[in-house]
Amino acid sequence: MAQKNLIIYGAHWCPDSQRVKHWLGEHDVNYVWKNVDDSQAIVDEMLSKTDNTNLIPTLDIDGTILVNPSDDELAAALHEPEEAEINYHDVITIGAGPTALATAIYTTREDIDTVLLEKGVVGGLAATTDLIENYPGFDEGVEGLHLAQNLQKQAERFGALIELAEVSSIKDEGQYKKIITSNGTYGARAVLIATGSDYKRLNVPGETEFYGRGVHFCATCDGAFYRDKRLVVVGGGNSAAQEGMFLTKFASHIDMLVRGDHLKASEVLIKKIESSDKITVHFNTTTDEILGEEGKFVTGVRATDKQSGESRVIATDGVFVFVGLNPNTAFLADSGVKLDEHGFVETDRTLQTNISGIFCAGDVRAGATQQIASAVGEGATAALMIREYLEEIG
């Protein structure tokens, strides 16, 4: 808030005087405190401004007198257009994936006012995963979208608010953190960074040009376009293996291009890949270029066998890329939040970052295990740590 000259006439024993001081503190408004118990001169000064109305707290804001104003009246009196739209909450999570949803389930059950800000999909990457087979409690596995929707409903049932907005920066303003978004500015007593990670790009020629016309990063979204067609899956980790298996529902054949000499996936998935008659795995193979007719669709992939050095074109109708994850931390560039050398957020044992009141949990945290079950567990832990922090700051 822009600063105005503000004098408060009040007393320590008066709850409304304390309320007003607390509100001004939260909104970073400076004021001069004049205790009416200190001298008759102060009382006389106040009475001269209030036509002898002897009530506290009395506020003199640039000559405008307010007697025991409500919070709304204070906000209106100190209102500045550019600062008018700050939405204050106890806790704001940046991201609304499994981590943030788990946090919100816990905080809202404690009556802690919680808002989740999401720029993409509620449920995060988990929501785009076809089948999650290692999430405890689902003996037959669970569809990612189904799990995400259930987490969302559960959080909302307890009062969590999910708002679609892209966060551009966080500012530490002491007791309140300011979160600047595409949907206006928010203030929060505690912030949870739970932005997770996103699929890496290959960064090869053709990848951008043919996005949506043969190049894809979401099998559950776009797999059905490839019924009875040939596909290439790039990657050798759990995501590539899981999504590759999902794509066998549609594709006539899948060439899986793996840079390393083995799959880095769970044994269960490796066995499925090995026993699928639709998948051919090419180890020690780099993906160098995605080919197609300009303005039309993908026709092939140029790949190189690292051992023989032989480069060849694999004919295909589409390419699905799953080559690892990047932390979503670009928005933290000027925040002062400490990242590790790979761009993940560093935290202490209480999941707090180097800035008091800013916490981090889930895939975006340095040292995270990149598992949905862990993300949910960390979300619950973060909620309890945030609760303690809020109790400490009062």
Partner: protein, 83 residues
Amino acid sequence: MAKDVTIYTSNTCAYCHAAKEYFKQKDVTYTEINLDEQPEARQQLVELSGQMAVPVILITQEDGSREMTVGFDMPKLASALGV
């Protein structure tokens, strides 16, 4: 506000759900063409947009100009919809 908003979706596409949720939050009326329920629309989408992905969002403005978005790109949608 745009004159017409059409979104091509599928049941399993999380980004489609995200886009529809965004329309709901911004009070945007839209027409949904679900490719799981109308498989014949799949080819129509490819011919119309040159895309083999969902969501595809077609926004027609009052002056008849049309803009196409592939995927859920909130800043681009916000500017096209004027919200």
